[in-house]
């Protein structure tokens, strides 16, 4: 296997009429493949081979858009059209696409954005309408989304030239300088991860995955590509159900969801809203959680309610294809326990380096192997800083990724997590650089200084600031530049921020004032 499309083609040949993605619509394996090939044929006729930006809804049809771009021989970069305009602008500046693909739902919103973002150099825009089943090209020609518009010879030629290390996608994540980083990942990395995950989670053809994350987010790669590989199905659960546990559980039971890979907060939030009190889960039996440290008081409740389910704690960054290690929870947990992050997935090498760059039992968690991202797109400086040559290997080039996380190995070779080396935090499943929030605040007129802290027990970002701007004005201005989840829900205006003797802001003192 050298390409994810081979997985899709095998599953479509085996079960063409089985729905692969269900949610707002039901899309069969054959439809995903046929639509993707038609989109691929159309895009292949257009110039350039640079990555394609995609603006699409959280819909069962979106995987066909991604696969369509892959058929054309390019990588895709999914972008959430509801992000603030300034952030989309930063992403598009980095990506500099010559081609943008939009679906019918995002089209109007995107056109409005595009007229403000691109002045003279407007990229080609291709619209795919899954209601009308048409593709509308830049010059207004319309191609219908059916098998008669597939050029099999052209697609075969493209495939022949592709290699397993070709880029598959670029996913943007928070960067401390205020500019998002585009993590670029190959087919090989994705397939290595999906193979390893399916083995650990014991996913088979009859499973149904419950998708929680937005489709442009790293966690969604499981929900998109596991059906390709195993022939199983993914149900895209409406976002608002995560605020209404009864509706969430009833929906999952109705769709026979058997397996979920969710952020920790997707499991803890429904509990804080009374999940399991009135409605039980009847089909779920495999639960993987990741993104931040799982409070065992919450895991215990899940275990009591799903006594036969398999629970797996996953750890790892986007740069190592979503993951590094896993821990299968093999006992009933107690409230005060801290789960280990376990051991490396198959075909991953995970090790610790101390401050002298020597292998150690405690130190920075480092990872190498075929799951390493290709780098940050169009960003050699930050790529060189994070993806480095293994300092213990002087004989030949061996690229590793330094996660910036601290870990330790116990006597059984099991890895434990001890937090960050820098100021990155995990807030409701999202990676947030506190520096980035401060950068955004300091760039606003009327703000002289700011310090962002995280109140972990309450799961609230707090921003202390000085300046003329009132809270409301600051909140509004922040919402124009950074995503909603990064905007601090608590803003505290001060006459001056407390300082250390060296002139730096005294964060410890501010912690006491949260």
């Amino acid at each position: 296997m050298k390409n994810v499309l081979e997985w899709l083609e095998a599953s479509a040949a085996k079960n063409p009429q089985k729905p692969a993605f269900i949610g707002d619509k039901e899309i069969t394996f054959e439809q995903v493949m046929t639509w993707a090939k038609t989109i691929g044929t159309t895009l292949a006729q257009m110039e350039g081979d640079a990555p394609v930006a995609v603006f699409s809804a959280r819909s069962a049809t979106t995987p066909a858009l991604f696969a369509g771009i892959v058929y054309s021989g390019r990588a895709y970069a999914p972008i959430d059209a509801t992000l603030p305009q300034k952030r989309i602008q930063k992403i598009l500046t980095n990506l500099n696409p010559s081609l943008i693909l939009v679906d019918q739902e995002s089209h109007a919103r995107f056109l409005k954005l595009a007229s403000e973002i691109f002045e003279d150099r407007m990229p080609a825009i291709v619209k795919v309408d899954f209601d009308e089943l048409t593709i509308t090209k830049q010059d207004e020609t319309i191609v219908s989304l059916d098998a008669s518009n597939i050029d099999a010879t052209a697609l075969d030629q493209i495939r022949e030239q592709m290699v397993v290390t070709d880029p598959l996608y670029i996913i943007y994540t928070s960067g401390s300088s205020g500019n998002p980083k585009g993590v670029m990942t190959s087919h090989e990395s994705l397939m290595t991860y999906i193979n390893a995950y399916c083995k650990v989670m014991q996913i088979e053809e009859q499973d149904c995955l419950g998708n929680q994350s937005p489709l442009d987010y790293i966690a969604a790669i499981r929900d998109i590509y596991i059906p390709f590989k195993t022939g199983c199905q993914t149900a895209i659960i409406p976002k608002e159900y995560f605020m209404e546990p009864n509706m969430l559980f009833e929906y999952m039971n109705e769709k026979h969801v058997t397996s979920v890979g969710w952020s920790v907060s997707a499991l803890t939030v429904p509990l804080s809203l009374g999940a399991f009190e009135e409605v039980k889960l009847t089909s779920l039996n495999k639960v993987c959680f990741s993104g931040s440290v799982m409070p065992c008081s919450a895991l215990r409740v899940w275990q009591e309610n799903l006594p036969d389910a398999r629970f797996v704690n996953q750890y790892g960054p986007t740069e190592a294809t979503a993951s590094c290690t896993y821990y299968v929870v093999d006992h009933r947990v107690t409230d005060d326990e801290v789960l280990p992050i376990g051991k490396a997935y198959e075909n991953y090498r995970v090790f610790l380096l101390d401050e002298n760059n020597q292998k150690a039992d405690r130190g920075e968690i480092c990872v190498s192997g075929p799951i390493l991202a290709l780098g940050y797109y169009n960003d050699p400086e930050r790529t060189e800083k994070s993806f480095v040559n293994n300092p213990t290997n002087h004989a030949y080039p061996e690229r590793i990724y330094r996660t910036g996380d601290i870990g330790s190995l116990d006597e059984n070779g099991i890895l434990h997590f001890h937090g960050r080396m820098d100021r990155q935090i995990k807030h409701m499943g999202h990676r947030v650089e506190l520096d980035e929030v401060e950068c955004a605040a300091n760039a606003i007129e009327g703000i002289s200084e700011s310090a962002c802290l995280y109140n972990k027990p309450k799961e609230v970002l707090v921003l202390f600031y000085c300046g003329d701007l009132e809270k409301k004005g600051l909140s509004l201005a922040l919402r124009e530049t950074i995503p909603g989840f990064m905007v601090p829900r608590k803003l505290i205006k001060m006459d001056a921020l407390p300082k250390l003797p060296n002139g730096k802001i005294d964060l410890k003192k501010l912690e006491g004032e949260m």
Binding site: F242, E244, V269, R489
Partner: protein
């Protein structure tokens, strides 16, 4: 302070960018996010000494301020 005024204070602090007086579909139009609902439910518990149960977590109870006031007052009587 009336229930409504107290609620408005909580909402203003939570999301100063939203025009709570005029919005009628806070949940249905995805104006409030899940983080907001979670934070709001815990504030309501502290401020009004009420417990919002899963069966009350319906969009119609949170779509606008009037509906929220009605829910809070009903739960306070229970």
């Amino acid at each position: 302070m009336s229930t409504r005024e107290q609620l408005m204070e909580i909402l203003e602090e939570l999301r100063p960018d939203i025009d709570f007086e005029n919005e009628q579909a806070l949940i249905d139009d995805h104006i409030m996010e899940s983080f907001d609902v979670v934070a709001l439910v815990s504030s309501l518990a502290d401020e009004f000494d009420i417990t919002v149960r899963p069966k009350d977590l319906l969009p119609k109870n949170f779509n606008n301020v009037d509906a929220m006031v009605e829910l809070i007052e009903r739960l306070m009587e229970e």
